[in-house]
């Protein structure tokens, strides 16, 4: 009866063969909460796991997050065009925060990303944030992991500050936090530690000139005072003529090349497995593992190549001891 009868393993194979047209079916599957679909999702993730691939999925997973109204979507539109100009395929997973009081949501983000509908190299999927405002949709982790083995770049776009970049960091190889000039709260969040230090900080509306440059200087000073020289700070302008887009791509690429990808992806799989476990078994399940931190530590002792389903199974076994 459930519509989630797609074959997960077959979808995984299509992705491994570089078939970008499989993306929509992959999303339809991982979003499906039916029992049959969940089994197929596990099969999909196993088919694109490091064990199956012989390496980590080669795509670059980039989190783009920031407060509402700072120009994330316009920036993304420029970024997608610039990646395509470099002949890189891009999948965008736009997590929309819109109201769910009714359970429903309005997903309008894809409208802001200019694209050629005949270009299979750009895939955009909007997903409602679920019950947690600004958080990741439950399916987003699985989707990002799977698509990274076919697309050159996978972008996860979320809205918010203080929480969302933490969650995105669990999945993405790099997190770019987008702010606009004059947003002092981000500075405060950084200094007070409410917000984790991102991999890249992007200041939009560079066309504002001096105001944007001052914001840039303030952020750099704040990062220095926190002892972080690693974070690149880039000023961009998305209106015509665009500016700073190439620099941003360069900063992301530099970050990727310096990253221990195996370690970051293994951590992502552990957190994914733990999130799935917690969603299924709740606080009681976590207590059975000695709490969340203890569970994370125990997972670190497992083989880093294990896929998400295997890790979750490990946790379930351990909880039964």
């Amino acid at each position: 009866m459930s519509a989630g009868s797609a074959d997960g393993r077959e979808l995984g194979e299509r992705l491994r063969a570089g078939d970008l047209s499989a993306a929509a079916a992959v999303l339809n599957l991982v979003e499906n909460r039916g029992d049959a679909a969940r089994g197929q999702t596990e099969a999909l993730l196993a088919a694109v796991s490091p064990a199956a691939l012989g390496q980590e999925a080669p795509g670059q997973i980039v989190g783009v997050t920031g407060p509402p109204g700072v120009g994330k979507s316009s920036l993304l539109s420029r970024l997608v065009a610039a990646w395509r100009a470099r002949d890189r395929s891009v999948a965008v997973l736009a997590v929309d925060p819109s109201s769910r009081r009714s359970g429903g949501s309005l997903l309008g983000d894809r409208a802001r990303i200019e694209r050629d509908p005949s270009d299979l190299g750009v895939f955009i999927r909007s997903t409602a944030a679920g019950d947690r405002l600004g958080g990741l949709a439950p399916a987003t982790r699985a989707a990002a992991t799977a698509l990274a083995c076919a697309f050159d770049v996978v972008v996860i776009e979320t809205v918010g500050v203080g929480q969302s970049e933490t969650e995105v960091a669990d999945v993405a190889d790099a997190v770019a936090v987008v702010v606009q000039p004059g947003s002092g709260d981000v500075l405060q969040f950084l200094k007070s530690g409410i917000m984790e230090i991102p991999d890249v900080l992007v200041v939009t509306k560079a066309d504002l000139g001096p105001i944007a440059m001052r914001a840039l200087a303030d952020l750099r000073a704040a990062l220095r005072s926190l002892g972080s020289d690693q974070t690149a700070v880039v000023a961009v302008s998305s209106i015509s003529p665009p500016a700073g887009i190439d620099e941003l791509i360069e900063a992301l690429d530099v970050h990727q090349s310096q990253l221990d990808l195996g370690a970051r992806r293994a951590r992502s799989r552990r957190l994914h497995a733990l999130a799935d476990y917690a969603a299924e078994h709740g606080d009681r399940g976590l207590r059975a593992l000695g709490g969340r931190r203890e569970a994370e530590r125990w997972l670190e002792s497992r083989n880093p190549g294990r896929d998400v389903a295997a890790l979750r199974h490990d946790l379930e076994q351990r909880a039964l001891r």
Binding site: M1, S2, A3, G4, S21, A23, A24, L27, N28, E31, N32, R33, G34, A37, S98, S99, R101, S102, G103, G104, S105, L106, L107, G108, R110, A111, R112, E114, P117, S118, F123, I124, R125, S126, A128, I239, S240
Partner: protein, 670 residues
């Protein structure tokens, strides 16, 4: 000695307002013929309706023009078309209103050059008329924008600065409150947003003209308003606008001359309230609305155009338009309306009503100002309009607001007016599109291409230099024979493209007993499907009338669906690609411009090409019954027209369609 009471009559009967009919269709020749016939019938001014490609800056052979050439107005692709449009109508004696916005500078240039080429030649300084030229309301409601806000405001300021000096009898802009009401604005919102819009325009012009010209600039700004069927309040609205406008002139712009501060406006009365059900009743609505703008002498309209009784059915025929013109003539020439001074002078009720509206409008204007002015506040105003429209719709559905023949007094005899074979509407010859494309080919072949190239290069240079006025280079391009699409593309290359906010994302969620039931149905179906019911609402083609699509999107969201809505002006392949990538379960398409016969089959084809299967497509719009049958034949699952005003019933239909396609049983537990 007996004292005779002082007479309350005017010493001399007032001259009537200017009477126009918003008209134009197919090509320039056919529209010219229509205009001449209308003038013979006693119409005293022209009101040109352009087709959507002309309004949005595309040539008839552009992909987006498909199905739209000559449909809602006349196609004007170059100066030759404009010359043919006004052939035999001496332009120094005509007052022409052009409903043109994003491409207003271009159409004004074509008009100026066409006048030069009349025999005898007419100088630009002798031309009279208006260009609508109001871009903010295009973002908010009407949707025929082409460029982003900043360069669009510059184009407006340039046309004002140019005409004040060179075409002094021209009204270069009509600040439109009309379309705000069509988008659901309350009277207070209509006043406040129109005034805020005027402030944004005047502030932009102030930077481009010498101070001593600001008085004349202020005096050339006119308004284009709406009047709904609540005609007493609507009249008060105009008095409130007049008062605020006078204040604005004195306080913000230091305009000394009283004449310059006079509130001048043209009007097209309400289309939003016209019904498809028992359409003959619309005649009464239109008559009452005409009273709203003519009753009080102090704020009487300068120019009036009335819609036709059958607008909710399709495009009106010349006879339908004649019927509306006759209404104006009866009002002006048969009644005693024009014999008295202002009949509301001294009325406490009217004064109180005006004071209420002024106070409300001031508050709302302050809010817009706080957000940085009308240009910055487009998002805010748009979502406020979507909310107001939704409230209006809720009141109709609940029966709080009576619409005779629609939600009350529905029983009716069959109407002889719609019994004709043509269904009582005008059908544009589908061959027009190909004819216009061929004519454009010929035009391009016979012109001096080098002259066009250099004129467009110069236009591009001027566009990049913010300090220069766009008009001289635009007029030169018109003389050289450039096309509407070429002029616009040159500017798009410099200014970039733009998508206006949809306003739906911010719309507040509502609830109600009816909705709770719907949500339960959506929940059950979503559980059966495995993921939440996902609905794509799409607007194919150039039609910018998004108010209906927005209400559908918001209601579907409130019913618990995940709704993908991308705004207006999508190609069939864009819609198909979105449907495929988003994995939607059902698609709703909205078209009000009459191009459904061409566009909907294209969307169906594109969906098949994109591999979208088992996804029902429903269509909404102004769709004649014969067309609806053809669409269903082509594979459309359901067709909705303005008579389907119960949105919850529509939602239930949509849920049912998806349930059927997926063969799932989600009957409520007993």
């Amino acid at each position: 000695m007996l004292q005779m009471p002082e007479t309350v009559h005017l010493p001399e009967r007032d001259r009537p307002w200017m009477m126009r009919t918003y008209a134009g269709h197919s090509d320039a020749e056919r529209s010219n013929e229509l205009y001449r016939r209308n003038l013979e019938k006693g119409q005293t001014g022209l009101s040109v309706a352009f087709d959507l490609p002309t309004q949005t800056g595309y040539d008839p052979d552009h992909e987006l023009a498909r199905g739209e050439v000559g449909k809602v107005g006349v196609s004007i692709a170059h100066e030759g078309d404009m010359r043919a449009l006004v052939k035999g109508i001496p332009l120094d004696q005509m007052n022409t209103s052009m409903t043109i916005n994003a491409t207003a500078a271009w159409l004004l240039a074509l008009y100026i050059v066409a006048a030069e080429n009349q025999d005898p030649p007419i100088r630009e300084s002798d031309l009279q008329g208006t260009t609508q030229n109001d871009i903010l309301k295009e973002y908010l409601s009407r949707g025929t924008y082409a460029f982003p806000p900043a360069p669009s405001m510059r184009l407006i300021a340039d046309t004002i600065a140019y005409t004040v000096k060179n075409v002094p009898k021209w009204n270069p802009i009509n600040i439109c409150s009309y379309h705000l009401q069509e988008a659901g604005a309350t009277p207070v919102q209509e006043i406040a947003y129109a005034m805020s819009n005027a402030v944004a325009v005047l502030d932009a012009v102030r930077e481009r003209v010498p101070d001593d010209l600001m008085g004349s600039v202020f005096g050339r700004i006119s308004f284009f308003v709406n009047a709904g069927v609540r005609f007493v309040e609507e009249h008060a609205k105009l008095r409130a606008m007049s008062q605020l406008w006078d204040e604005l002139g004195q306080r913000r712009y230091g305009v000394r001359d009283d004449k310059h501060r006079r509130f001048r406006y043209g009007v097209q009365v309400n289309s939003l309230g016209l019904t498809e059900a028992q359409p003959e009743n619309n005649v009464y609505r239109i008559a009452l609305e005409a009273l709203a703008v003519t009753l009080g002498r102090d704020v009487r309209a300068r120019a009036v155009q009335l819609p036709a009784w059958n607008e909710a059915l399709g495009l009106p025929r010349p006879w339908d338009q004649q019927w509306s013109l006759r209404l104006q003539q009866v009002l002006a020439y048969e009644t005693d309306l024009l014999e008295y001074p202002d009949i509301f002078e001294g009325s406490h009720v009217m004064e109180g009503l005006v004071a209420e509206l002024v106070a409300g409008a001031r508050e709302e204007m302050a809010r817009v100002a706080e957000l940085g002015g009308a240009v910055q506040a487009v998002d805010y105003m748009k979502s406020a309009l979507v909310d107001s429209h939704r409230e209006r719709w809720r009141r109709i559905e609940s029966g709080e607001l009576t619409v005779v023949g629609m939600n009350r007094f529905q029983s009716t005899e069959p109407s002889p007016l719609t019994a004709d074979a043509d269904g009582g509407i005008l059908v544009v010859d589908p061959a027009v599109e190909a004819q216009q494309q061929a004519a454009l080919e010929r035009w391009r072949a016979q012109r001096d291409q080098a002259a066009v190239d250099s004129a467009l290069a110069e236009l591009g240079r001027v566009a990049r230099d913010d300090a220069e006025n766009i008009m001289p280079a635009t007029i030169a391009a018109a003389r050289a024979g450039a096309t509407t699409g070429e002029w616009s593309q040159t500017l798009r290359d410099v200014f970039g493209e733009y998508r206006a906010p949809t306003g739906v994302g911010e719309a507040a969620a509502v609830s109600g007993a009816d909705l709770a039931e719907l949500r339960d149905e959506v929940e059950r179906l979503s559980d059966a499907l495995g993921r939440r019911l996902k609905f794509l609402v799409g607007k194919p083609g150039l039609d910018g009338h998004s108010n209906g699509a927005e209400q559908i999107a918001v209601r579907a969201r409130d019913a618990g669906m995940d709704v993908v809505y991308e705004g207006i002006r999508l190609t069939p392949s864009q819609i198909a690609s979105s449907a495929a990538q988003e994995g939607v379960h059902v698609i709703g398409l909205s078209i009000l411009s009459g191009s459904h016969a061409e566009l909907i089959p294209s969307v169906l084809e594109a969906l098949a090409d994109a591999g979208v299967e088992n996804v029902p497509v429903v269509v909404g719009g102004i769709i004649p019954a014969a067309d609806a049958a053809a669409l269903r034949q082509a594979g459309v699952a359901a067709v909705y027209t303005p008579k389907d005003w119960d949105l919850n019933a529509m939602m239930r239909d949509i849920i049912g369609l998806v349930r059927e396609r997926h063969d799932v049983d989600t009957a409520a537990p007993a």
